[in-house]
């Protein structure tokens, strides 16, 4: 059943060729086998309850009742997405929220429930989605199923692992600068960051509000498209959500597609040879399919990292102000003053990376520095957005690596946050330009670690981008590979 597309599986559940209970049983079998080692989930609902929910779906199918588009599908959601559930906290990987149960559902959660999906748990992440390895979680370290000594990527590391180890069939993650695509690449799954505004952010605990976007991780572009179709849509609770019609998935003829490869991405020093060669193999496949691939210069590439981090940190420093121990979350009293309550709660509640980003973000917004940093970064962002728009007027997609390297060893980069920041150079472009971007598993590294290659499309043409990726996955098989541990 793990080979079926989500659409096929839901059809079979509806027509009772497969029961939702048997799907749930299979997923929980994987959870029982791998979760203890991989630690993808922060919290997970009891199997008994998951089976009851699946039984409800089967009963409805039996009674011929109308079932939703995700009927009986076990879905994981990242632990920065709010869900109102007595068994599922929303901790964001942070000690300061370790006792927090959200009293409302995120819009995406409402949409999943509406379509009869079964949300089975909350996946681990870097604290407040700040990081690229999921090592910044206050609670646990998630391992990569391809090599448990390696990181799964991040910040949606738990989400990517839940898919790679078949412990969920659809995962929702969030992507501020690559947090869906990079772990998807590290774990050999497909992940999409939609156009900014396609999916409501209501109920997503904000990191960089102008960059954050919820998206899907799954085993294929087809499944990502299927999931995205459910969670997208204008939301009156989110003023930044777009009132744009999400079109039907078009049929894509790769021979008519024009791909752009930024010259700067071919720089041999910037990425591992394996990464470049994996991308080159995809380009070769595209050319053989008759597609046009041309190089163009992206002279603003060296501006991406500073621009991204100034904006993201500044917004984060403000967004995280509310975690003050006053109304919810963990309060640590210092002496009896209010200032000490704030300082003690926040000093104890946040991890090192979060504090670093809050401090940097506070600095760039300080009186006298605004124009120099945040103001300038916003101007640069607008410029980048316009430049990318020009390129995408000429091309259907931009191709690039997702990460300069495949999954690294646990602890390998924790002492060098700057090198981790710099590794986001390929992924932040899509967030800054607000365009959709998908990470596809392409040729693995010499040591058989997954590598992802990225396609970026035009604003609000998410379904075209996904259809292009699906067309590629029809003629390639890298996305079908699964970690060895599943075959034992």
């Amino acid at each position: 059943m793990f080979d079926l597309s989500l659409e096929e599986l839901v059809q079979q559940i509806k027509s009772r060729q497969i029961t939702a209970q048997s799907v749930m049983t299979a997923v929980y079998k994987n959870i029982e086998s791998y979760e203890e080692q991989l630690k993808a989930y922060c919290t997970i609902i009891e199997k008994r309850r998951a089976m009851e929910l699946a039984a409800v779906v089967d009963a409805k199918a039996k009674n011929g009742e109308v079932l939703g588009k995700l009927a009986g599908i076990p879905v994981s959601i990242k632990d920065n997405i709010c869900i109102q559930d007595p068994q599922l906290k929303t901790k964001c990987g942070s000690k300061i929220l370790e006792n927090f149960y959200a009293p409302y559902n995120a819009t995406v959660v409402e949409k999943l429930i509406q379509e009869d999906a079964i949300i089975i748990g909350k996946t681990n992440l870097d604290e407040y989605a700040m990081g690229s390895s999921t090592e910044n979680s206050a609670f646990q370290i998630t391992k990569n199923p391809w090599d448990p000594e390696r990181v799964p990527g991040g910040s949606s590391g738990g989400a990517a692992v839940s898919i790679a180890a078949q412990m969920a069939l659809l995962a929702l993650g969030s992507d501020t600068g690559g947090s869906i695509r990079q772990p998807a690449a590290f774990c050999g799954v497909t992940g999409i960051k939609p156009t900014y505004g396609v999916v409501s952010r209501y109920g997503l605990v904000a990191y960089g509000s102008s960059l954050d976007q919820i998206g899907c991780l799954a085993k294929s572009a087809e499944d990502c498209e299927y999931g995205l179709r459910v969670i997208q849509g204008y939301d009156p609770h989110d003023s930044t959500s777009a009132q744009v019609e999400y079109g039907d998935a078009p049929s894509i003829d790769l021979s008519e597609q024009k791909f752009c490869i930024p010259q700067e991405y071919m720089d041999a020093d910037a990425a591992d040879d394996d990464v470049i060669s994996s991308m080159m193999e995809l380009i070769e496949t595209l050319k053989q399919a008759g597609a046009t691939v041309e190089e163009r210069s992206f002279p603003f590439t060296n501006l991406l990292i500073p621009t991204y981090y100034i904006l993201a940190f500044a917004e984060a420093s403000s967004n995280l102000g509310r975690f003050d121990g006053i109304r919810y979350g963990v309060r640590k009293e210092g002496d009896s003053t209010l200032e000490s309550l704030y300082k003690t709660s926040r000093s104890n509640g946040f991890g090192a990376e979060v504090k670093r980003r809050i401090m940097l973000g506070t600095f760039v917004l300080s009186a006298g520095y605004y124009d120099q940093y945040y103001g300038k970064a916003n101007k640069v962002r607008t410029f980048i957005e316009q430049e990318v728009e020009k390129i995408l007027a000429e091309f259907d997609c931009i191709i690039g690596p997702v990460s300069p390297f495949p999954a690294f060893k646990l602890g390998e980069k924790t002492e060098d946050p700057l090198s981790m920041y710099l590794a986001d150079v390929y992924s932040v472009l899509a967030n800054l330009a607000r365009i959709p971007a998908i990470s596809l598993p392409t040729k693995p590294s010499a040591s058989q670690l997954p590598i992802g290659t990225q396609l970026m499309g035009r604003k609000f043409q998410d379904s075209q981008l996904l259809a292009t990726a699906a067309a590629i996955q029809k003629i390639t098989s890298d996305h079908q590979q699964t970690p060895n541990m599943l075959h034992k």
């Binding site: 959200a102 605990v205 509000s209 403000s318 102000g321 109304r327």
Partner: protein, 477 residues
């Protein structure tokens, strides 16, 4: 040394919307703590603001009424600071792109008209409030009912020079926000309040002195008193050779002094930046124009019309138009073809006195405009005297009856019948021959004695002029 005060006001007006600025919670006052809250105004993780369009419309209304330029692409910004009544640790406000800019108003002080510039008007959310436990309870409690209630902040240019001008400006703003319906203007509830920036400079000097900001003045009187105090205090400091400390001060209305709250060194760096959760508030000139068409007649225009239409003096017309309900009431009464100046006297003197005593609004006194017009009509056709009219008015307040009914029931109608009065006068002259002799001997002042006697005999209902006339006729024979 001659000092010139330089004063600017920042006024906060709570908007009269049904729901909060960024969520659907009610703005109703007086609910149990935290009854009017939801995940959005509680600032829970993951929530997002959605602008209440009514807020935008109210801001535009006020901007148009105060001669501002309306910005078609205004933007919300976050003002970041920590306080337990501020659940997101930032207030959503406006910074460098406010909705209204470069306006002005005229105020009248001592017969002089003065133009006061308005730098800007912007939209923002209010914070909640803290309730501190008393006695053994050393806890502080947070009530977020007010968090997210929409405010308009109206910032004046430093054009004000005297406490009287400051008060007049505040009164004008109060009057306008009430006319427009954008705020109920209830200063006692703090729905309209102001911060006063005051500095002194040497007469003739160009640059401003160091200013202080006195916060949360919530009555016209306090504004004036606080500024008078602050001018005197700063003058004394300067004459003593001290420098003025730039600081935030508070007004103590019991002691009638301002005192320091925090100095500039402790001032916050609010780290303003555009709120990424709220797109630029694009509006069209067409929408602004359609709002302009719905603006009511504003106080200044109404006052001019009252002067022209009713022949009122400028000062009297100013008093009438300050509150729209009073102006409307006045016009309704005046429409009954009675003397507009008499109507002014009754509305402002008599009803004004009762409004002050009972702290009621004009519509709550129970005297309809028809009844007041009737009462004035009775005076004008000599049916009752002014004195009797006041007694009838007191009755009207008590039982809401028509003055005709009261006059009939109590037999208060003025006696103007010369025959009946003549008879009475003859009787009194007969029974007081000594006084008649005195009068005829030249002590004409005793006529007052006769008038008093007749009034006594008629229970005040005799028409005084006719009595005088008849007395003279009979005595001068």
């Amino acid at each position: 040394m001659e000092f010139e005060p330089v004063i600017g006001l920042e006024i906060h007006a709570q908007m009269a919307t049904q729901s909060k600025i960024f969520c659907n919670c009610s703005t109703e006052f007086g609910k149990p703590p935290n009854a009017n809250t939801c995940p959005v105004c509680l600032g829970l993780p993951g929530v997002l603001p959605v602008l209440n369009k009514q807020v935008l419309e109210f801001a535009v209304r006020l901007g148009l009424a105060t001669n501002c330029t309306i910005r078609l692409d205004s933007q919300f910004a976050r003002k970041n600071y920590f306080y337990p009544d501020l659940p997101k640790a930032y207030q959503i406000s406006q910074f460098d792109r406010p909705i209204c800019e470069n306006g002005w108003l005229n105020v009248d002080v001592n017969g002089q008209t003065k133009k006061i510039g308005i730098t800007r008007i912007h939209m923002e959310e209010d914070a909640g409030k803290l309730i501190h436990g008393d006695g053994d309870d050393d806890c502080s409690y947070v009530d977020l009912n007010r968090a997210g209630v929409p405010l308009l902040e109206i910032v004046s240019e430093p054009d004000i020079r005297t406490p009287e001008e400051a008060k007049a400006y505040m009164e004008k703003i109060h009057s306008i926000v009430c006319y427009l319906g954008v705020s109920d203007g209830d200063m006692e509830k703090g729905n309209l309040r102001c911060d006063a920036n005051v500095s002194l400079r040497l007469a003739g000097q160009e640059e401003f002195g160091t200013r202080t900001e006195t916060k949360n003045l919530n009555s016209f009187r306090f504004i004036q008193q606080a500024i008078v105090y602050e001018i005197a205090r700063q003058k004394e400091e300067l004459l003593d050779g001290h420098e003025i400390v730039q600081e935030t001060r508070l007004w103590d209305s019991d002691k009638k002094i301002t005192y320091s709250m925090r100095s500039k060194e402790e001032a916050h760096d609010y780290r303003y930046f555009p709120d990424p959760d709220l797109p630029v508030a694009h509006i069209t000139q067409g929408w602004v124009d359609s709002i302009a068409e719905t603006l009511p007649e504003l106080p200044d225009a109404k006052r001019q019309r009252f002067i022209n239409q009713y022949g009122l003096r400028l000062e009297d017309a100013s008093v009438l138009v300050a509150e729209q309900s009073i102006a409307d009431y006045y016009e309704d009464v005046a429409a009954h073809q009675v003397n507009p100046k008499t109507v002014y006297n009754w509305v402002i003197m008599e009803m004004g006195r009762v409004m002050n005593e009972t702290r009621k609004r004009i519509g709550e006194l129970g005297i309809s405009t028809n009844h007041l017009a009737e009462l004035i009509g009775l005076i004008e056709d000599n049916s009752i005297s002014g004195k009797i009219a006041k007694a009838v008015f007191e009755e009207m307040l008590k039982n809401n009856q028509s003055p005709h009914v009261i006059v009939e029931a109590k037999g208060l109608k003025q006696i103007s019948d010369e025959g009946a009065l003549g008879q009475q006068i003859d009787e009194i002259l007969e029974s007081n021959p000594a006084q008649v002799e005195q009068y005829r001997a030249g002590k004409t002042k005793v006529i007052g004695f006769f008038v008093g006697q007749i009034m006594k005999a008629t229970k005040g209902q005799a028409h005084p002029q006719i009595v005088n006339q008849l007395l003279k006729q009979k005595l001068d024979l």
